[in-house]
Symmetry: D2
Subunit: 363 residues, 4 copies
Amino acid sequence: MSGSTFGNIFKITTWGESHGRGLGVVIDGCPAGLLLSEEDIQQDMDRRKPGSNKYGTKRQEGDKVQIMSGVFEGKTTGTPISLIIFNEDQRSRDYSKIADVYRPGHADFGFESKYGIRDYRGGGRSSGRETSARVAAGAVARKLLKELGINIAAYTTAIGNVKAERINLNERFENPLCMPDNKSAEKASQLLDEAIKNCDSVGGIIECSVTGMPPGIGEPVFDKLDSSLAKAVMSIGAAKGIEFGDGFKAAESYGSYNNDSFYMSDEKVKKETNHSGGVLGGFSDGSNLIFRVAFKPTPSIAQPQKTVNNKGEDTEITITGRHDPIVVPRAVVVVEAMTAVTIADLMLMNMSAKLNNIKSFYL
Amino acid sequence: MSGSTFGNIFKITTWGESHGRGLGVVIDGCPAGLLLSEEDIQQDMDRRKPGSNKYGTKRQEGDKVQIMSGVFEGKTTGTPISLIIFNEDQRSRDYSKIADVYRPGHADFGFESKYGIRDYRGGGRSSGRETSARVAAGAVARKLLKELGINIAAYTTAIGNVKAERINLNERFENPLCMPDNKSAEKASQLLDEAIKNCDSVGGIIECSVTGMPPGIGEPVFDKLDSSLAKAVMSIGAAKGIEFGDGFKAAESYGSYNNDSFYMSDEKVKKETNHSGGVLGGFSDGSNLIFRVAFKPTPSIAQPQKTVNNKGEDTEITITGRHDPIVVPRAVVVVEAMTAVTIADLMLMNMSAKLNNIKSFYL
Amino acid sequence: MSGSTFGNIFKITTWGESHGRGLGVVIDGCPAGLLLSEEDIQQDMDRRKPGSNKYGTKRQEGDKVQIMSGVFEGKTTGTPISLIIFNEDQRSRDYSKIADVYRPGHADFGFESKYGIRDYRGGGRSSGRETSARVAAGAVARKLLKELGINIAAYTTAIGNVKAERINLNERFENPLCMPDNKSAEKASQLLDEAIKNCDSVGGIIECSVTGMPPGIGEPVFDKLDSSLAKAVMSIGAAKGIEFGDGFKAAESYGSYNNDSFYMSDEKVKKETNHSGGVLGGFSDGSNLIFRVAFKPTPSIAQPQKTVNNKGEDTEITITGRHDPIVVPRAVVVVEAMTAVTIADLMLMNMSAKLNNIKSFYL
Amino acid sequence: MSGSTFGNIFKITTWGESHGRGLGVVIDGCPAGLLLSEEDIQQDMDRRKPGSNKYGTKRQEGDKVQIMSGVFEGKTTGTPISLIIFNEDQRSRDYSKIADVYRPGHADFGFESKYGIRDYRGGGRSSGRETSARVAAGAVARKLLKELGINIAAYTTAIGNVKAERINLNERFENPLCMPDNKSAEKASQLLDEAIKNCDSVGGIIECSVTGMPPGIGEPVFDKLDSSLAKAVMSIGAAKGIEFGDGFKAAESYGSYNNDSFYMSDEKVKKETNHSGGVLGGFSDGSNLIFRVAFKPTPSIAQPQKTVNNKGEDTEITITGRHDPIVVPRAVVVVEAMTAVTIADLMLMNMSAKLNNIKSFYL
């Protein structure tokens, strides 16, 4: 079973390669009655588009999404929503040299081991561009969540060893690195310019914050909120780690510090601190959901690299063409998208938890 | 849909609370013909048993597993394998005080928000003991993987700020903290003794290593090897983060460093380094699989804590009874179990990837 | 993937063989707050028990169900409900003769082809007794549906060529054949007595009626109400056909006859006729749901039969021991159980169909 | 969860309405290395096309399929295969009259009950045309099965009360009713002409035969071969019943007749008769798989019909426009398609049943 489907109720199925005819996603289980237009989706797509920032490749990807089904007179009908991005810039010639070679840091070797065949054009199914389909699906999920008072915002919190000092959400749209801190973005820019000079690439960390979630969301024991998000986000290419709340720092904490005390405020249960990162025992706990994702440096660098080809021979490869020195700024909206899709699914699953609610629904 | 089922082909369904009649798991999709006995499973269960190490609680849990179905004349039949651990020490009176109170750091609040009802005895479905069922399932998966030349070994790599200095796998069975380094285990013991004095608890990190995996295991794009493992392992209570290979350090790396070069050796593709941690593009890449899991400190501490009750009143709680100051040593075999179950499933899913293999199978 | 799990939200996983230590089912996704006791389940189990009617075998099966988890203080908690029936009468010696032989009409050959191993005792996983676990699960689903005003009643509508002339639901409990018509039950008894004399068996048809379903239940296009029920019911051993409403007769109808006209009554949409059998376009349509299931004759007969053994030799077999000349009366509650489980699942899935409902739920 | 996905390994997800921008399907889990072209798929699509037979509507549907992904240099890559049929003839004006009315025999009422919204154009998601996507997916599955020696052939076995007298597979392509018997097709034609005169429609039965299946295919207990096929086929619009082998006739049989004896021939296990229809105990048994599906008459007839509208008012409707008096001939390839998809999935699932096979695969 190829794992191209994600979710239980709000279920997405993606398809497409960066150099095929197009990419797309089928969203099943989106409730009927949600206002949805191509503009709603396009605005998230545009946050992914290379060329819109200094450190993105100048390849013109088009990335115009079309709604093929599931929407009638501006509203979702409850039937599957098919979104398609038709490929425009597909120049295959960029990649013919690497048809037989396993690029270090890429999925080439894995694909050929598994399938015996590999569409070598671009990154095929593991290209950064494959994430366009996810972003499209995420836009729909995001719209649904907005109706329920839930908002998702991710941003670059570190590039290389340059960390954001503050979190001012507006600023993330003001610099090409999507950092919520223009000053640190400046420093990071310099780091990147250095890397580009050296034909190298850099990694980074994205932090994601979700507000407005009611407590109790998550399906124990395997579809907990954090395990579901971990699966969703770790499936993004180049993701190498995820942590919630204090994360790895919690491993060095004491219980007296790490436990978030509860207190009442306006008849709602609140927490004095948020070391848990908004998820506790696998459920949302009413606080903001906070997690961070580590991304490795883009593997496509222009330096010569030792490798092998699919005939079993040692060889060398120098990747030419246009490649991003960093993908983190583009991955920000992808992290938001996967988060939206996961939470939308869990919100729908949660509706059948109590008999009383079911009786109110039907009787 | 409560998420009590995990896997696609090798599929496990767990049930049971720490203070109910028992706990168990149903394993579906285990191939027929595997030698399996209760001893095979019991030896992994025993690694979880409290009382077998100084820092585990002295509660006698019994934890004797019984095979109820799916095995005939010592071999699996291909039908569902039901494993049950009947509860022996269930003293409910330990917990009656906290029936109405939300313990900080626990899932109480989440459970009641979601279901309106909570079995307050012990940790109910989120108790550490619930993991017994997972360990039982993991033992079966482990046995299957052993037949395929795959071995899994996890160990405590850090407790609080005490890190293991070396990795000597044998030593992990020689100290009660499951550290692969007796010297560091000594230091960590002292840290724990201090915590116990202060009625506090400590977190830690577990590292897991898997050897023998062929390349190409993983189902893109959502059931990749790392995203599947992330889901599996992050579903373990108290897990707050996971990272593969260089993990969060990769975020500070350069591509020229992070990329693992390929080379040929004995007609097999090998990698010069292993920054990827054995997973690349979502597939196993032939190197050892390495990942780390961060665990927060046990939330049950004997210090007084501010909290609220389910009547919406501020209150205080002091948790008495017997609780572990650290669960990491006990979680080691749970991490191995979830890893085994995940990899077993992906190994079976991989079999249908190539038409040629399918034709060989049937014709 | 062995298919031992059924359902999406209300999800059941069965295990156990007729001659193993026990049988059971894990029910996941049952809403919290439902009153549930062992008696609720036992009463359905008892309708299955052989020895309680003249044409059932006198084997004492026990069939006492125990609730192992998921219920606290008499109510479901939302966590998995594990139900177990411990085997009491397991006399294996009845079956040793047929260990190597493929009994005609049984799953022996299929099992060995697939798994290479077969637990030959009784029918193993395909024994009639395996359905006990389904009945247990069905009792829980039935209780949930009752809370929503939905009731399920099945009955034997034909045995051999003897058809029920009337449908008086009370009478089905008054004769051992579960026919809603005592007179026809008399005739059928004579037919069965004749069959027993000839060491033969007879088939039959079960009709099932569900009242109280709201319209719109079913998940297009593959999880429609009728396709889901078809899967559920056809999975019962010996089932060879299913038809809804006019069924195969509709194939000979004209559209002007088969179409059910709609009309308003008390502000509700009603249908003048019910040729559709309560399911239209894959959704419930507000009328009673009616369908029929055809069961083949029990394959275990005492006549000598030509067959082969697993060494590839032609041979003959005469099945001794105690076997039912007909299973239809016992299958009635199994049909109800699978219907209950299927409808419960679809009722829960239906809750997230409209955005407005989701907003009312959360805001 | 809208049920638009079908299958476990070979998994299809369909989307699209008859009057939207297009229809399509995403096939996940198709093994890599299968030769696949648009022609392979188009030939099955053409068997569905109206206008290609006297009794199909003259609406020009186009129905040209495009492969958007998953195929490279003529072979499947193992990545998702997206097939799209772009709509050409979408004249909405045909349907505006029925926007507010529930057509008897159609899914209109069900859709609006469930979603509160209905795309009234054509049949929306329940139109006959929606099946194009299934046929496309079925063509790919069929190609895969052909590689494994499995062939699927369905045909019209009855129209109204006119039954096929013989089964000559070639003849089904020689008459517009897809009957394997030209003579009976003649009679049926007359029946249909009469129905058209009366502004009425007729039902029919399709029989499907599958040759070449190895024994043991099916996943007990819920994903048996017959229950999986039942679900797949009953999800086709207008299907009202399914039966395997002797089907409902088996209900009137005796065990001594119904049991198929086994015997050895050329070292293979064969059956003397085939009352089981090739499926026994939920597994394929080595004989030809035979089943029949009953279809109700097309609900869209030109006679006036009493009904209600969505404002709760009694009204009347006369459906104009172009509608088939019978869909059975067009449904034949749809039955084959769903059969192919189901069997392909079960064939792949079967590969992990025995440990020995898994060891041979990996070691």
